[in-house]
């Protein structure tokens, strides 16, 4: 599904991502963990096309995508959410999800201005599909509420729905549990598993270890831009190197 081969990213003298390689298999949930500043978000931005890698190859469904623009990557079936939720101001939850359907629809400037039958039909289909996604994430009652005025957990769900609207093959989740309490985190972890069951592969960056260990099939550990471990959650918890990073060394 997704394969990183010796990916590097340098910002001036800082080697933010250093020779990272791993792959994400179809239908699995993979997590990237690591202390602050380990390069997790940079890695995400490289995969999603927000930043070009300095070196290395990123294959998505067998095709190289490094250096592509985010909207091109999105059109190939990769969706993402953001650490600090980015919903659209002045739009209802439903409209936010409808924006997510952008790659699934075609009507352009002219047909939009003329409100052609084609555009109207497509609009109806988009609305229907977006409503179904809100139902799937159990937030359909907030469809007509301005998205940015919703509670934090609900905003995360709207963002998830928007990402799913792309009909993605791969979903990137940047700290989906950040800022959520334990009930909301449990809710999100249930939703992520639900999404995986729909056949969507998931790659997530997360600090909440209970969430990571509960839902991941595999975990990658980053530290100062380098991959130091890649294994199942059980083995990662036993890995002395990982324990050293997280708990510090014995004096």
């Amino acid at each position: 599904m997704l394969e990183l081969q010796a990916v590097h990213k340098k910002f001036g003298g800082l080697h933010a991502v250093n020779d990272v390689s791993f792959s994400v298999n179809e239908g699995t949930i993979k997590s990237v963990i690591g202390p602050n500043g380990a390069g997790k978000t940079t890695l995400f931005n490289l995969i999603a096309g927000n930043l070009p890698p300095t070196d290395g190859t990123i294959l998505f469904q067998g095709k190289a995508i490094q250096g592509r623009k985010p909207h091109q990557v999105a059109a190939r079936g990769m969706a993402r959410t953001f650490q600090n939720i980015k919903l659209f101001h002045g739009m209802t939850a439903l409209e936010c999800v409808m924006v997510g359907c952008h790659t699934q629809s075609k009507a352009g400037f002219i047909s939009g201005m003329l409100n052609t039958p084609f555009a109207r039909k497509e609009e109806k289909a988009i609305r229907q599909r977006s409503m179904e996604l809100l139902q799937l994430l159990e937030i359909e009652e907030f469809a007509e509420v301005e998205a940015t005025s919703l509670a934090f957990g609900q905003q995360r769900a709207v963002e998830l729905a928007r990402a799913l609207a792309l009909n993605p093959r791969l979903l990137l989740l940047d700290e989906p549990a950040a800022g959520l309490n334990i009930y909301e985190t449990a809710e999100i972890s249930r939703l992520i598993c639900k999404i995986r069951e729909m056949g969507v592969t998931v790659l997530l960056v997360e600090h909440d270890m209970s969430l990571v260990m509960e839902i991941s099939d595999e975990v990658v550990v980053l530290c100062f831009g380098e991959k130091i471990a890649e294994d199942t959650p059980e083995n990662i918890q036993q890995n002395p190197e990982v324990i050293r990073i997280y708990l510090g060394e014995d004096e």
Partner: protein, 364 residues
């Protein structure tokens, strides 16, 4: 509370007809002249409103696009081609029916481009310039974009002031009427012209163009592309991640708003039978921006209403020599007390349903 788009349009149409009937009955038809002009300026303002309010891209150069429309159309329909009429290009244009022959006020032969050919050229040119200006300039954000578009407006202003073809400081006068439909039988011709006898027709023509322009933009806002524009206004990163080609969308909406401004320029120039350099001035661009801001950035109806009423008052000379100062004062007042535009003041008087609804849900 919520009135549908169609009903609002119908109300506007009714109001337009009512105004015309009232002025006829009360013998105050002279108001129609300024209302016609205000409608054309309204076209510039709503086009800019979509660019600024919905897509979030400021342009302090829209008078430049208005001037491109007006000046190209004026120059092409007044510049005498008689001496060139034997050249292959001009005779080819003549065969294609692009030219118009008439006599000037001294009775000499005058051969110029036909207004429709000039109009098409002007609109295409404005669209092209907007396209090629937009690609680099729309990469800028906020103040930087404002400065760059200001630069563009200044270039156009100085160009028309310095070019003999555009009449330098005098501008261009004696622009012919723009015949849209020739007289058929007993029906009067439909032409854009300041002729007193055609005042009512021109009033309806201008408002017809404005209302159609308004409908197209309202459709656009509610469409897939409109949603994409609104999303990139709020977060370009999230819009990109949703598959929106943000730089392309920005350029296209810039082109559309430039074409709106240019069309207004073309029609108003034919209506006034001329155009002067003040139409290209930076102060005009600033005024358009102010009208959008006063009307409410994300409120196309507010933009339309404020744009038309203030422009009408200004054209009637209500503000006298203090015109620009009054506009600036209104802008300061609105920014201080009602940054979302004048229509948002409604909310202070009667809380709308929309504001109550989210409050309730938070209590759940």
């Amino acid at each position: 509370m919520k009135v549908s788009k169609t009903n609002k349009i119908l109300c506007l149409c009714a109001l337009v007809i009512l105004t015309q009937v009232t002025t006829t009955l009360t013998g105050t038809q002279y108001y129609l002249t300024q209302l016609t002009m205000a409608a054309y300026y309204g076209l510039v303002v709503i086009g800019l409103g979509v660019l600024m309010g919905y897509a979030g891209q400021i342009s302090i150069g829209h008078a430049g696009f208005f001037a491109i429309g007006g000046y190209i159309s004026a120059a092409m329909t007044t510049h005498n081609l008689v001496q060139l009429q034997d050249t292959p290009i001009i005779s080819f244009c003549s065969q294609m029916g692009l030219l118009m022959e008439r006599q000037d006020i001294y009775g000499d032969q005058l051969l110029t481009f036909a207004p429709w050919a000039a109009c098409v050229t002007a609109l295409l040119l404005a669209a092209l310039i907007a396209f090629f200006l937009g690609i680099p300039v729309l990469k800028l954000k906020g103040h930087y974009l404002a400065m760059a578009t200001l630069g563009f407006g200044t270039i156009i202003y100085r160009l028309v002031l310095a070019t003999p073809l555009f009449g330098e400081a005098d501008g261009i006068s004696e622009v012919p009427a723009f015949t849209l439909l020739p007289a058929i039988g007993s029906l009067p011709p439909i032409m854009v012209s300041g002729d007193f006898g055609l005042r009512v027709i021109n009033y309806y023509l201008a408002w017809g163009v404005l209302i159609i322009g308004m409908i197209l933009l309202l459709n656009l806002i509610d469409s897939r592309v409109g949603r994409a524009l609104r999303s990139l206004h709020s977060s370009e990163e999230a819009a990109e991640a949703s598959g929106v080609h943000t730089s392309g969308c920005k350029v296209y909406v810039f082109v559309i708003s430039a074409v709106y401004a240019a069309l207004a320029g073309v029609l108003l120039t034919h209506y006034n039978a001329g155009i002067g350099p003040s139409e290209a001035s930076v102060m005009k661009s600033v005024r358009y921006v102010a009208l959008v801001a006063v009307g409410g950035m994300t409120n196309l109806w507010g933009t339309l209403i404020v744009g038309i009423s203030l422009t009408f008052l200004s054209l009637r000379g209500v503000f006298g020599s203090y015109d620009d100062a009054v506009f600036a004062a209104i802008l300061i007042g609105v920014m201080l007390f009602s940054p979302a535009g004048i229509l948002s003041l409604r909310g202070c008087l009667l809380p709308s349903k929309q504001e109550i609804a989210p409050a309730k849900e938070e209590n759940l």
